[in-house]
Symmetry: C2
DNA sequence: ATCTACTGATAAGGATTCCTTATGTCACTA
DNA sequence: TAGTGACATAAGGAATCCTTATCAGTAGAT
């Protein structure tokens, strides 16, 4: 014998009739007509195999529960409450007001763009938990691929297009030369790579961007490699040499250093949102991606040195 | 914005698709066709506002949950489990396999009929709790009226017909004379009330049955009143006198005493099931009433001295 | 490559279920 | 004895659910 299957609406009708002591008031509350409630209750009684309300009798003009109905009432209410809890929880989740968002980003964007973006994004979603990782592009891509993170912000190295990831370009970040304010280059508005050959060039983590360009010979000329950004900046401020950096990696509000765009070759790295192809994002991640796209569209944020 | 309302069947479909990793297997389990499941899931996704399953993609021929779906799965399962618990509990209740049955009965029936009846009745309902009270008819009626018990077994005194109780006659219990086996009456097959006038008559709790009959004068003749049944029996066995008792109140298998029906007037009390008019019984009480009626119908139990 | 077998998606029709309007019944009231 | 209030019932239409038939993409096997 198979168990009956209650409908939530039906249970609600029952509770309302019981608590408002009447079919009419219950019908009103349910935004239904009275016969609808009658039928609903009858159906429920049939499923249960027992009547729930006393047959309208004696002086008491109020509809009263049977003992069986009294036994059922709290259970029905609990079940409805449970249902509504789940429904509400899922609604919040689906409006990304709650949940867990795991995000990885390349450090430059993490420092320059994300602080403002994220603080705006979470302004009206206080329940959202965010885990953030910063690392270089390869590591970000790896985290996305391994699903250690819902969404990534990185640039797409060559050879990675074929993989199971989708790339949505968001920012364009132009490579430039960084030197101290008293350096001969400091007042230039643009530079050609050959001008750098006579300089002491310090390589750094972003120097890979020069690979596969005409400026590649610079890499072999260079005798320094400093991967730590803070040390690199300190060295540059000391006047130890010059380096190349994407604009977004150039520290904001640094008064001792100058950024001069490299124009030939003009090297631009495209940074954007990275996610697993054919995998649906969690609502929160989806919302963040959309948020980033609309925000940056507004600001037309292109990573070149503004005037 | 109103919350969506899930259907239990729908949630089941979702869980099955998720756990069996496929719409086809889920359809089979649900005894539906595959398109039905597709639509069911789609409807659920619309209600939630988010997709639950990854769009059938790459190599993985298995249908996989989205992060959102993974979050929903346990909640859906809990909700289904809760529903099924309630449904099962109510089904048991409605098959009176569980619950609480409060019963009051007149002592004679309680001793003579109920032990067998109740033991048969509860044989296949081990979960049923029974509270039992025995008392005289008035007390039983009072308990029923005050809803201290669900159902009562008593006879209906005159003047009680108008009250809010229903009486279903079950047993007929004939009044007779009880004396010791060596008493002159012992071998008689029937007696007239006038024959008792010369005897020492001991009144008892059931003597009220003689009121309003032609035998009423006996009551004023009698100088003894023993209300405790055990004492009464002891007195009778001592040969202290005789008394009148309904057959059901006459102790079964008593070898020292004899029961002789009183034929003029023939006094029969109707004992039956008493319940509150217009009040539905709890399923267990309902079942007991029905059980008593069918059992006694089988045995044609009439309370006269059988040969 | 092409065929087959598997997946789920989609369309159109019929069967059910649900809800509404209109009316009925019963008990209490004036 | 008509009136009122509260629920039951009947019949028709609307919405939902489910089915059959068909489509479309992918994987594996010729």
């Amino acid at each position: 014998m198979s168990l009956p299957e209650f409908k939530i609406a039906q249970l609600r009708h029952f509770v309302w009739v019981a608590e408002l002591k009447g079919f009419h008031s219950a019908a009103e509350k349910a935004c239904r007509t009275q016969p609808a409630i009658s039928l609903s209750i009858r159906d429920l009684e049939n499923k249960l195999g027992t009547v729930l309300f006393e047959k309208r009798n004696s002086k008491t003009s109020n509809t009263e529960l049977t003992p069986f109905g009294r036994y059922f009432l709290p259970k029905a209410k609990e079940l409805i409450a449970h249902h509504d809890n789940v429904a509400q929880d899922m609604a919040l989740m689906s409006e990304h007001k709650t949940g867990h968002l795991r995000l990885a980003s390349v450090p430059s964007i993490a420092c320059r763009m994300l602080p403002e973006l994220l603080s705006k994004f979470i302004a009206d979603v206080p329940e959202l938990h965010i885990s953030f990782y910063d690392d270089n592009s390869e590591a970000v891509l790896r985290k996305v691929e391994k699903q250690q993170v819902d969404i990534g912000i990185a640039s797409l190295p060559h050879g990675h297009e074929h993989a199971d990831i989708t790339f949505i370009p968001v920012w364009e970040d132009q490579l430039g030369v960084v030197c101290r304010e008293d350096h001969p280059f400091a007042e230039a508005t643009e530079l050609h790579w050959k001008e750098l050959r006579k300089q002491r060039l310090i390589r750094n983590g972003t120097s890979r961007l020069l690979e596969d360009t005409e400026a590649e010979p610079l890499l072999s000329d260079s005798q320094f490699l400093i991967s730590n950004m803070l040390s690199l900046i300190a060295m540059l401020e000391e006047g130890l040499g010059i380096t190349t950096l994407p604009w977004f990696a150039f520290p904001k509000n640094n008064s001792k250093l100058r950024f001069i765009p490299l124009t030939s070759p003009k090297i631009v790295r495209h940074i954007g949102i990275v996610q697993l192809k054919n995998k649906a994002l969690s609502p929160a991640a989806e919302a963040l991606a959309k948020f980033i796209l609309t925000e940056t569209a507004k600001n037309k944020a292109i990573g070149v040195k503004p005037e």
